[in-house]
């Protein structure tokens, strides 16, 4: 503590100060300690998450083999004949996340190109914050919208689509994630230096060629990391899929039938008041641990992509 205080200090050590300095020194140390402890607490949150998830998950794996969990495709812990194949939930999560990205990726990237390369300043200035409003709307609102607005429209187009289906939830989730993709991608594109664009224009390129062959490749690390973050967000998203995609752990990639994601399963069990210590209670920690590991890996990958592949121009 003391050395870290002294190292960056502009003032001389207080020991050399006038008599009475100790009265000022004591509260100084106390405050520094309090701030330090607060920082430690933020690290303890991570430790706490891992500990809490591992604690119950280890108990779960004492009763269910890890191999069955990770390779099984039937998930029925709430039935009398219990099976614990988490792939049924992983399939639901993968399906909704992939479909959501099919919406968010092209729309988000094209929006970013428009805002960064095409839009005049007086369009960009109001449009950008309005677009970000989409990211601030609570997910339960999107869930409502998916179930009661998008699903009926889809069912009019094709009556084969079930009331609860992955497609409707994914489309709406894609719209929710879109501003994240477009905002982060646009930031990356705008940090590409002007001179690169001007060089390409001087060679006779059109705006399309400058955008897709110069700006996007130069900003690729930022764009890719935005995509990865968006996927991670889609995997962890809970309310839209809980409300609109159903609670049927189907090992399927059919977007028209009810499925269940990892997050929706946790909500389902939490709502049912499973007693602590029961196997149902332990399953949610095992599922949450898997969810945590997957999203953590994606977040780290996203940071790695930015730091490793960033193009430096200055």
């Amino acid at each position: 503590m003391r050395s870290s205080l002294a190292r960056n200090s502009v003032v001389p050590p207080l020991g050399h100060a006038a008599p009475g300095a100790w009265r000022r020194r004591l509260p100084e140390r106390g405050i520094a300690l309090a701030l330090f402890l607060s920082t430690i607490l933020s690290i303890l949150v991570t430790v706490g998450i891992i500990a809490v998830l591992l604690f119950e998950a280890i108990k779960f794996f004492g009763e269910v083999s890890f191999w069955e969990f990770i390779t099984g495709t039937r998930w029925t812990p709430l039935f009398s004949s219990k099976q614990f194949g988490v792939l049924a939930l992983v399939a639901g999560t993968t399906l909704t996340a992939v479909l959501a990205m099919l919406v968010a990726l092209p729309l988000g990237l094209l929006s970013a190109i428009y805002l960064s390369e095409y839009a005049p300043d007086k369009v960009r200035r109001p449009v950008k914050p309005i677009l970000e409003v989409l990211a601030g709307i609570p997910t339960v609102v999107y869930g409502y919208f998916a179930l009661l607005f998008v699903t009926p429209i889809l069912r009019q187009i094709s009556p084969d689509i079930a009331v609860f289906n992955a497609l409707s939830a994914s489309i709406v989730m894609g719209i929710m994630i879109l501003p994240m993709v477009s905002s982060l991608s646009e930031d990356a594109m705008r940090s590409v230096p002007r001179t690169l664009r001007e060089g390409a224009y001087a060679l006779g390129s059109t705006k399309l060629e400058v955008s897709t062959l110069v700006v996007v490749p130069a900003a690729l690390s930022g764009i890719v990391s935005a995509f990865i973050l968006a996927v991670s967000r889609a995997i962890g998203e809970t309310m839209i899929v809980t409300i609109a995609a159903g609670q049927n752990p189907n090992f399927t990639l059919n977007p028209f039938v009810p499925i269940e994601t990892m997050t929706a399963y946790i909500v389902q069990v939490s709502q049912g008041d499973a007693p602590a210590g029961s196997i149902e209670f332990k399953t949610i920690f095992a599922v949450a641990l898997l969810l945590f590991v997957i999203t953590l890996a994606m977040n780290l990958l996203s940071q790695y992509v930015v730091s490793r592949f960033r193009e430096e121009y200055e």
């Binding site: 207080l14 607060s38 059109t206 977040n299």
Partner: protein, 293 residues
């Protein structure tokens, strides 16, 4: 590259320009689709729910009868939980940001702490709910109470507050600090009298945005064990509670059209609250920017 004729050049040029216009149109279309989705969403909500909002909707408890159901308990629950979450996250977030920027900047410890914070920001919100369930509800015996819910959301928004406060603290010009040190101020005197007042609007903006995220959170509070049907107002920090998003979720999942209407009305109330808070944040940010330009 092969030499091409004048007419061939003109033909290719026309084609490239045409492609460019198509691409421009596609980009414009994407932005329009995104903005259009927002407009459709808002219009749909207003059409569904606005007629359902009246004084008795705001002052009635949840009910088995859709036409009598109101959001009194949910509104008060949301307000209490968010006050707890905001106060805790503000204190811890500003303290951590001050330590990382003013005391430990550039140290290995600060680097690790910052990596940790950016990873915490990416943890799915429902995982925080399970953390709150095990730590606050079970280990600290707070029960499924307002306090436990507030603490859970505080941890969820802590990374947002730390990052925003850190940026605000960094944007205070070093000359202000150096001037104070030159007058003999201690480190904490500099922070308390110079850094915090200068950074305060930025910090407050960050806290407001973080709190507005907390107001909309549903999943972590369900995982923590908040109730879905509450016919009473929470009367102490240890009393059980529900919040507006959970009430909306509950009504949305019911088949009766009356409850879905109530859900839309609840959503409108929620969005108006968020709008007011965000407008406040924007006003603060503008005032803050003007000072340094």
């Amino acid at each position: 590259m092969a030499v091409i004729s004048q007419t061939e050049f003109q033909r290719r040029k026309a084609r490239r320009k045409w492609l460019g216009r198509v691409f421009h149109g596609l980009c414009l279309l994407s932005v329009t689709v995104a903005l259009g989705a927002l407009v459709v969403l808002l219009i749909y909500l207003v059409v569904q729910g606005v007629t359902r909002i009246d004084w008795s909707f705001l002052t009635s408890f949840a009910s088995r009868y859709p036409e009598q159901a109101g959001i009194k308990a949910a509104m008060l629950g949301s307000i209490y939980v968010v006050i707890v979450a905001g106060a805790v996250a503000f204190t811890l977030g500003v303290a951590t940001a001050l330590y990382l920027e003013e005391y430990a900047a550039r140290s290995t410890f600060a680097r690790i702490a910052k990596i940790n914070i950016s990873n915490l920001a990416g943890v799915p919100s429902i995982v925080y709910g399970l953390l709150g369930l095990q730590i606050f509800v079970h280990s600290l015996h707070l029960g499924k109470s307002v306090l436990a819910g507030g603490f859970t959301l505080a941890l969820l928004i802590l990374p947002i507050v730390i990052v925003a406060a850190g940026e605000a603290v960094r944007s205070v010009p070093p000359s202000l600090r150096e001037g104070s040190y030159a007058l003999g101020a201690t480190r904490w005197q500099v922070i308390w009298h110079m850094v915090i007042p200068q950074a305060f609007p930025g910090i407050l903006t960050g806290v407001i945005l973080a709190v507005s995220r907390a107001i909309g959170e549903t999943a972590p509070l369900i995982a923590m064990g908040a109730l879905t049907f509450v016919p009473f107002t929470p009367d102490s920090p240890l009393s059980r509670f529900t919040v507006l998003p959970i009430q909306i979720f509950n009504w949305t999942s019911r088949p009766q059209a009356g409850f879905q209407e109530a859900a839309a009305a609840g959503i409108i109330v929620l969005l108006v609250i968020l709008l007011v808070m965000n407008a406040g944040a924007v006003i603060l940010r503008n005032r803050f920017q003007n000072k340094w330009e």
